[in-house]
């Protein structure tokens, strides 16, 4: 049963389980997941890019051994890509194949009226569940054991698309006019992510729990690096996290996120660096900074940044 899953009995369990998956999270994240599971509420995860929003969904799916169904949002995404589509090809093929059958059915019918009423008896055979092509949202509803539905980067989709989600998010059901309402067999865990490039509508926010994941603090980031790049020496790890934390205080076009820190740690590992000196930093700045302007800015400040670290 959904409720009774032993994996979701306490917040500490969740945190520990995620730890084991290599996803280090604070209680806030674990609490949100716990609430989402027990209250059957979708979670809207916001935060700067690269702090592990998408990763969270993957971890949840892995932790609960549920299939992860992902819907990547983009401008122009519509219901035929997100909800369902009719299998037109199949419908056409069937009409052609069944054409002869029609003759048999209508054989012996008296007049147009009777033929019609005989046809009516067959109902809307061509608009039945067999002809539906499920897209991610419908697929998530149809998973017999539940699933984790990730609606990624919702802010990229059009405003109208949000309204499309409302029915799914509040009632876990989809209305298909030709068939009726399809209700989720087992309510999926829905995780929506947004990079905050635009405000998500109130109607949608109201239906979701809200989780804001900021950049991690030094201690948490250390743990993340420890878990993700365990080969890295303690000293270097401390230096690295320290440096990144300092850079985040600067006025940059794009601040380095956790994913960049991890990349950087791997880079340093590959270069067999054992301490963070100025040359290495200069040569690998492009791993953490993605704009030439930013790189130049930080390069100019490198002596100051490195000096502060040593003290």
């Amino acid at each position: 049963m959904h409720e009774a899953s032993p994996l979701m009995t306490s917040i500490e369990d969740i945190q520990r389980g995620f730890d084991a998956q290599g996803y280090i999270c604070n209680t806030q994240i674990a609490t949100a997941i716990y609430l989402a599971w027990h209250l059957h509420k979708p979670i809207l995860v916001e935060g700067p890019p690269g702090v592990g929003k998408t990763e969270l969904a993957k971890t949840v799916a892995h932790y609960l051994s549920l299939p992860l169904i992902r819907l990547q949002c983009y401008e122009g995404l519509d219901e035929s890509k997100a909800l369902y589509e009719w299998k037109y090809g199949k419908q056409l093929l069937y009409t052609q194949v069944l054409k002869e059958k029609l003759g048999d059915i209508l054989n012996g019918a008296q007049g147009l009226k009777e033929s019609m009423s005989r046809l009516h008896n067959f109902g809307d055979v061509f608009y039945s569940p067999e002809f539906i092509e499920p897209r991610p949202l419908l697929k998530a509803m149809q998973e017999p054991n539940g699933s984790v539905l990730l609606i990624d980067e919702l802010d990229k989709a059009d405003y109208e698309f949000e309204s499309l989600l409302l029915e799914i998010l509040s009632d876990y059901q989809i209305s298909v006019p030709e068939i009726g309402t399809i209700v989720a067999q087992e309510k999926p865990i829905v995780i929506l992510t947004s990079n905050n490039t635009r405000e998500i509508s109130d109607a949608l926010k109201r239906r979701c729990l809200h989780l804001y994941i900021p950049f991690p603090d030094a201690a948490l980031e250390q743990r993340i690096i420890e878990s993700r790049v365990p080969e890295l020496g303690i000293q270097l790890r401390e230096q690295l996290v320290d440096f990144i934390q300092q850079i985040r205080q600067r006025d940059l076009k794009k601040l380095p996120a956790v994913s960049e820190t991890i990349d950087w740690a791997r880079t340093l590992l590959l270069l067999h660096a054992d301490t963070l000196d100025r040359d290495i930093v200069r040569n690998t700045l492009n791993v953490i900074l993605k704009f030439q302007d930013d790189i130049e800015n930080i390069e100019a400040e490198l002596p100051a940044l490195m000096a502060k670290k040593r003290s």
Binding site: I11, T27, Q28, T31, A32, Y34, L35, H38, L39, K41, I43, L44, E46, G76, D78, W86, Y88, Q91, L92, T95, Q96, K99, E160, N196, R198, E199, D202, K205, R206, R207, C208, L209, H210, L211, Y212, K253
Partner: protein, 479 residues
């Protein structure tokens, strides 16, 4: 506890966190699930159910800290410490009394606990007279008594600041101040010096209690009554002249302006059209070809064409409109946020595109940068139109809207209204928003009458209310 939560939600609403009924229910479910024993957990649970944006989280944190400022465990029995009533040294120390007790009992003196269940466990403070209570010096009991008195006189209903005095007084009365004063008077009439001392001390402590009650009421006022202030402020903002607005209110203004810009933008709806290419609209094709014996003969294509609103916004940032330009730029910036394809231009004598600046920086920074780069020099509308024409006359077609924000004061230079006429003829719409009132148009170096001839809509706008009217009128015209 649910009632406490409802109170808290009211506080949140006052602090501009929008909480719907369904969210309140979620919060209650969440709280019930996690229990009230772990404060941090409760905070996180409520935060994820009630506060749904970064700004709201900030308000939430503030409110939470103030509302649930005392932990219930601090009311445990062991903190009851009798204070020797006849301690002489304490006459002078009575002012520091609360801080002392905080250190001693590691409990904070917080009057916010109004849990009936907790007080009933204690029992005594309810019956105890105020004098005993004060002499006992148990800050918890006093806090409870204060909270109960507050509840009894419904201090949460306070609406305006003038009520603070009466409420404090009523609270003290509720707590038994009259009796206490009676006691003090009786003690003073007594000849025994020891009794006098007690009377003196009681007076001291009563004064201390007055302060506490005042703080308590003040706090309640801040939590519960600020809503009316907020509403009042919004009303005032709408009517105030844009030039005289305090910097302080710019954040609120931003929100209002954004709302309006969104309204303006939303009229550009998506339109579906029949196309000769695109995706095969299979459903419709089948339906159409039933009459052709099911042979796909008359194909039907679908393609969505988003009516990309082409908005060109030109903003005067010169000295003559310095007071308004901040606001105009704000409108421009907000337009940019809701309509990513808007092209923004700023000028004083030469004109340049500023779309990039808006796209890259925050509103404060962007406005600062635009001002720094373009506001030097005296206004020259003629030159500006010339620059604008050479920059993007080609991209203006009958789907474009041109919005001009400026006072049309041209320093007696060449107006070059002809250029505006060309724009007027080519575009779908030219809107001029002028911060000066209509009676000023044409006076002095104002070229507004000449320009207005080539605008589909020229309006005066110097309050947000007027701007709202303009936006609404525009919407009516197009629909």
């Amino acid at each position: 506890m649910d009632r406490k939560l409802v109170d808290f939600i009211r506080v949140l609403r006052n602090a501009d966190v929008r909480v719907s009924t369904s969210e309140s229910i979620d919060a209650m479910h969440a709280a019930a699930l996690l229990g009230y024993h772990n404060r941090e957990l409760l905070k996180q649970a409520l935060s994820s159910t009630l506060a749904k944006s970064e700004a709201e989280k900030e308000s939430f944190n503030y409110c939470f800290e103030h509302f649930f400022s005392a932990d219930t465990p601090s009311l445990s029995q062991d903190s009851v410490e009798q204070w020797p009533a006849a301690n002489k040294n304490d006459l002078s120390a009575s002012d520091d009394m609360p801080s002392d007790t905080i250190v001693d009992n590691t409990t904070s003196f917080e009057p916010d606990i109004s849990l009936q269940s907790d007080t009933s466990e204690h029992g005594s403070p309810v019956e105890a007279s105020l004098a005993n209570l004060l002499m006992a010096n148990n800050s918890n009991d006093i806090a409870i008594a204060m909270a109960q008195a507050g509840e009894a006189i419904k201090v949460n209903n306070m609406q305006v600041f003038t009520q603070k005095g009466p409420y404090s007084w009523r609270m003290l009365k509720q707590m038994g101040m009259d009796e206490l004063q009676e006691t003090i008077r009786a003690l003073e009439q007594n000849r025994d010096p020891a009794q006098h001392r007690i009377a003196h001390e009681l007076t001291e402590r009563l004064n201390w209690l007055r302060e506490q009650v005042r703080d308590f009421v003040e706090k309640k006022y801040l939590l519960f009554a600020s809503q009316s202030r907020q509403k009042l402020r919004e009303e005032v903002l709408k009517k105030a002249r844009l030039s005289s607005l305090d910097r302080l209110y710019h954040r609120d203004m931003q929100l209002l302006v954004k709302k309006m810009a969104k309204k303006l933008a939303s009229q550009h709806a998506r339109r579906k059209r029949v196309f000769k290419k695109g995706q095969l609209n299979a459903g419709k094709t089948i339906a159409r070809n039933i009459s052709n014996d099911g042979i796909m003969f008359d194909t039907h294509w679908k393609s969505k064409r988003r009516d990309r609103p082409k908005v060109f916004a030109i903003c005067d940032v010169s000295g003559s409109v310095a007071l308004y330009s901040r606001f105009l730029l704000m409108l421009l910036y907000s337009l940019h946020e809701v309509l990513p394809k808007v092209r923004a231009f700023a000028f004083s004598n030469t004109l340049g595109e500023v779309s990039n600046v808006f796209a890259q920086y925050s509103i404060e920074k962007a406005i600062e940068l635009v001002n720094a780069q373009w506001s030097m020099g005296s206004t020259d509308y003629g030159q500006a139109f010339e620059d604008f024409s050479s920059l993007c006359l080609d991209s203006i077609d009958n789907h474009s809207t041109i919005i001009i924000l400026g006072d049309a004061r041209n320093n007696y230079g060449d107006a070059k209204a002809q250029l505006l006429k060309t724009l007027y003829e080519r575009s779908q719409r030219v809107i001029w928003i002028n911060p000066e009132s209509k009676s000023m148009w044409g006076g002095g170096d104002s070229e507004m009458p000449r320009y207005a001839a080539y605008c589909h809509d020229a309006s005066s706008c110097n309050t947000l209310g007027q701007l709202e009217n303009i936006v609404e009128r525009l919407l009516r015209q197009t629909s």
